[in-house]
């Protein structure tokens, strides 16, 4: 069957079950409730003054009674510095556990160490918002017997509520914890800031282990996960490489192309009609997307505009804007550098939020619904504004859905920023290889060679044209790019579906087929 974006979606897929095709960003939400039943969180009990502390991670994992076919989850707040995920999988493999479903909120370059366990049957399925590097290559080549599932950050919370991700064990790294498992990422030698993605795991996993290199006196304050959800606590020497967990401060790119795109995007935002007192704002953490913040900061100062909140993944740049009074508050689901941690702990207007409050479509209002402006990157964008942020030019998985579709659907103004081509590869093109975010959620594309407004937003186009911004038809831009780069050959795939891209509401927006070798 075809979904609304004309992508072929099978009715059922072994390893996942029945698939529901994507029908539009708000079709399922319009009902006002989620039709799928939700699973209850587990009931647990501990006797007074019982001891949760284990000598090591292996002992704690053994106590959770791991079994074949289990689902194990992790958060990705330690980013490229994480050692806990790989260590946990090694222990499970050593215990002879097979057929594991790995459900990490994302997978980074730190997790390439699980590759042997994909090949030997230890891990047979993956749920994640992002997959990169060698792992992404292996998955696209079909290393797993069951299809992997790419979800959004908000969609992951929904998937846990419905039991699509049914977590048997979660291992949560923290930079500080007490002996009861009250834990945080906001202080300690390995501080990494918000633990926003971990909350849902602590609430729903049947067994919860907190791992920290820093056991503090009871009670650990503040706490991102609380003791009433925690089964075991482990003190380890290290949760990973501190330099990769949280570098000092995130620097704005110096790449001229990214800066140029960012400058244009800031002009678009300024003249869109959204940049006014009380506006809310989210940018990505890298490249052109973060650089937009640099120009918006200047514009806000020049026009004496005070915003309401910054949302999402937070960098020191966002913290600076809070401290300068440009925004009243920050809602932080994920922190990107060390400077953010100290703000999170010291500034009451810098608030840690769980992923459900951030982006789950099925509640009474996630914060992405309150966004005025979001700036998002793209690996590819097609002439209907559909965006690919997951597969690269060779068809391998090399990106992250993250909060892309969540924020794009919620914001009044969604700005996609990317170069029109990279090297000799066209980025703006007739068809993208994989759709993650539907074109209906993208209002405007900003590239170095042109600004294109989605035809569904004639009001926005009018505002931009009135202010002297030249707007191009996206089809003309795609043709212009093709004249420079030539037409890229389509990626050759096998028929076998190795992964699916789940939209935030649980429907399937696209599938990923095995790359022909």
């Amino acid at each position: 069957m075809k979904n609304i974006l004309q992508r072929d979606i099978p009715q059922e897929l072994e390893g996942i079950g029945v698939l529901e095709p994507f029908e539009g960003a708000f079709t399922k939400l319009k009902k006002g409730w989620m039709e799928e039943a939700t699973v209850p969180p587990p009931n647990k009990a501990k006797l007074p003054h019982s001891n949760k502390v284990c000598d090591n991670l292996r002992e704690a994992i053994i106590k959770t009674q791991p079994k074949n076919g289990m689902t194990v989850s992790f958060h990705h707040h330690l980013r490229a510095g994480d050692s806990i995920l790989v260590e946990s999988i090694k222990i499970l493999a050593d215990l002879g556990i097979k057929d594991i479903t790995l459900a990490s909120s994302s997978l980074t370059s730190a997790h390439v160490g699980i590759l042997p366990y994909l090949k030997d049957g230890t891990i047979t399925q993956i749920y994640s918002s992002g997959i990169r590097g060698e792992l992404g290559k292996a998955l696209a080549e079909g290393v797993l017997p069951k299809p992997f599932v790419i979800h959004s950050h908000g969609g992951r919370v929904r998937a846990v509520h419905t039991g699509r991700i049914n977590i048997d064990l979660t291992v949560l790294a923290a930079s500080a914890s007490d002996i009861e498992g009250n834990a945080t990422g906001s202080h300690g030698p390995s501080a990494f800031g918000s633990m926003g993605y971990a909350a849902i795991d602590s609430w729903y996993a049947k067994q919860v282990i907190v791992v920290s290199d820093n056991i503090v006196d009871y009670p650990c304050v503040p706490q991102s996960v609380s003791q009433n959800y925690i089964d075991y606590v482990v003190k380890v020497d290290s949760i990973g490489d501190p330099s990769k967990i949280a570098g000092g401060t995130t620097r704005i790119t110096k790449a001229p192309m990214d800066l140029q795109i960012a400058r244009l995007a800031a002009q678009v935002i300024e003249h869109s009609g959204e940049l006014k007192d009380g506006f809310s704002f989210q940018v990505g953490a890298g490249g052109a997307s973060l650089a937009v913040a640099k120009y918006i900061r200047k514009t806000m100062k020049r026009r004496e505009i005070k915003g309401s909140f910054i949302l999402g993944g937070i960098t020191s740049y966002g913290v600076d804007m809070l401290n300068e009074g440009l925004f009243r508050s920050i809602f932080d689901v994920q922190s990107f550098d060390a400077a953010v941690s100290s703000s999170l702990i010291n500034n009451p207007f810098h608030i840690e939020i769980p992923a459900g409050l951030y982006a789950n479509p099925f509640n009474c209002g996630c914060m992405t619904n309150k966004l005025d402006v979001v700036v998002l990157g793209a690996l590819e964008i097609d002439t209907d504004f559909n965006v690919n942020v997951i597969t690269g030019s060779e068809g391998y998985v090399r990106g992250a859905s993250g909060g892309h579709s969540d924020t794009a659907s919620g914001a009044n103004l969604t700005v996609a920023v990317c170069p029109s081509f990279r090297g000799r590869i066209p980025i703006v093109k007739e068809n993208v290889h994989t759709i993650v975010t539907p074109g209906e959620s993208i209002d405007v594309l900003v590239t170095e060679r042109g600004i294109c407004v989605n035809p569904k937003r004639p009001d926005l186009k009018e505002n931009l044209v009135k202010s002297g911004i030249i707007v191009k038809d996206i089809k003309d831009l795609a043709k212009e790019v093709e004249q420079i780069t030539g037409k890229a050959k389509p990626i050759e795939n096998e028929d076998r579906i190795v992964g699916v891209v789940e939209y935030r509401d649980g429907t399937i927006i696209d599938v990923i087929r095995q790359v022909k070798q």
């Binding site: 110096k254 001229p256 192309m257 800066l259 140029q260 400058r263 170095e448 060679r449 420079i484």
Partner: protein, 297 residues
């Protein structure tokens, strides 16, 4: 023969090494008013021919949109200068830039060569402009004679690095040593009613230093500045673009001038300050820089 009227803004001219395909391809997207495709100092000796071939192809196939395209050739007395002219002149970029021009004899010799090549290809002599670079003490002394030699010369630029070397300056970064030359070159350009570009600012990490220098050379009368990194463009464009306040003031002056002109009044006051013809002329220049047409006022 009259040179064509320059229709380009000339706040910023971005240097692009002629042997770098990626940069040549993307040159027009950074917001510079002009690009300078360089066959001279930015290209190593063993890359000269490949740069010449690459730039020739780029001129044929790449659109530089609204940017003015200038090619800097090697000096005619180097082994590469004549080949550069033979290859580039037939392609007629908006302008050709001649480095290290020192004497009247030299400029007359080069322009003769350029026009011979144009004749060979049945090309007019009034399409491609010529920019001269003054980069030596002798060139500074002769700049007015050089600049007025031909109406095809519609811009002069100062090459600060080479000039500092020629003057045997040890410390050149503060611009003190080339200050006289800057002023002399500006005066020659103004006397010939042509544009004048300032030299590059080499410390690309020092944004404040660049802004200070741009503000200084704007006061001296330069039209714009050569740029060596796309990150410098925004700052220099900002300095050379009138502020909202400047534009409002200019509009007020021009409107008052038009009103008074009808009544035959030549000197009048705006906000308590005397306005006469030179003040109006400066206000018109501000509006021109801000792309505001008189008819729109």
């Amino acid at each position: 023969m009259e040179s064509k009227k320059n229709t380009f803004k000339r706040r910023t001219m971005l240097y692009i090494p002629g042997n770098n395909p990626a940069m040549l391809q993307q040159g027009s997207v950074y917001g510079a008013d002009g690009v300078l495709l360089d066959l001279e100092d930015a290209v190593a000796l063993n890359q000269k021919d490949s740069a010449r071939i690459l730039v020739s192809h780029m001129l044929k196939y790449i659109s530089y949109e609204a940017c003015e395209v200038t090619v800097r050739v090697n000096h005619i007395d180097t082994p590469f200068g004549l080949d550069d002219l033979k290859q580039i002149v037939p392609l007629q970029p908006d302008a050709i830039r001649l480095p290290k021009v020192e004497t009247l004899d030299e400029i007359s010799r080069i322009i003769k060569l350029v026009e011979e090549i144009e004749d060979e290809h049945n090309l007019p002599h009034d399409k491609m402009n010529i920019h001269v670079m003054i980069e030596t003490a002798l060139g500074v002394q002769n700049v007015y004679d050089i600049a007025k030699y031909s109406p095809r010369i519609d811009a002069i630029s100062i090459g600060g690095q080479d000039l500092a070397a020629d003057m045997q300056l040890v410390k050149a970064n503060d611009g003190v040593g080339i200050d006289y030359a800057r002023k002399q070159i500006v005066m020659a350009a103004k006397a010939c009613k042509i544009d004048v570009f300032d030299t590059v600012y080499v410390d690309v990490e020092n944004e404040e230093g660049l802004r200070e220098e741009a503000e200084y050379i704007k006061k001296l009368g330069f039209t714009g500045k050569a740029i060596i990194n796309p990150r410098q463009i925004e700052i220099v464009n900002e300095v050379f673009t009138p502020t909202e306040q400047e534009i409002r003031k200019a509009v007020k002056i021009v409107k008052a001038f038009e009103r008074n002109k009808k009544e035959g009044i030549g000197v009048f006051a705006v906000d308590g300050k005397m306005v006469d013809a030179p003040v109006v002329q400066r206000a018109l220049r501000v509006l021109e820089m801000a792309d505001i047409e008189l008819a729109d006022l």
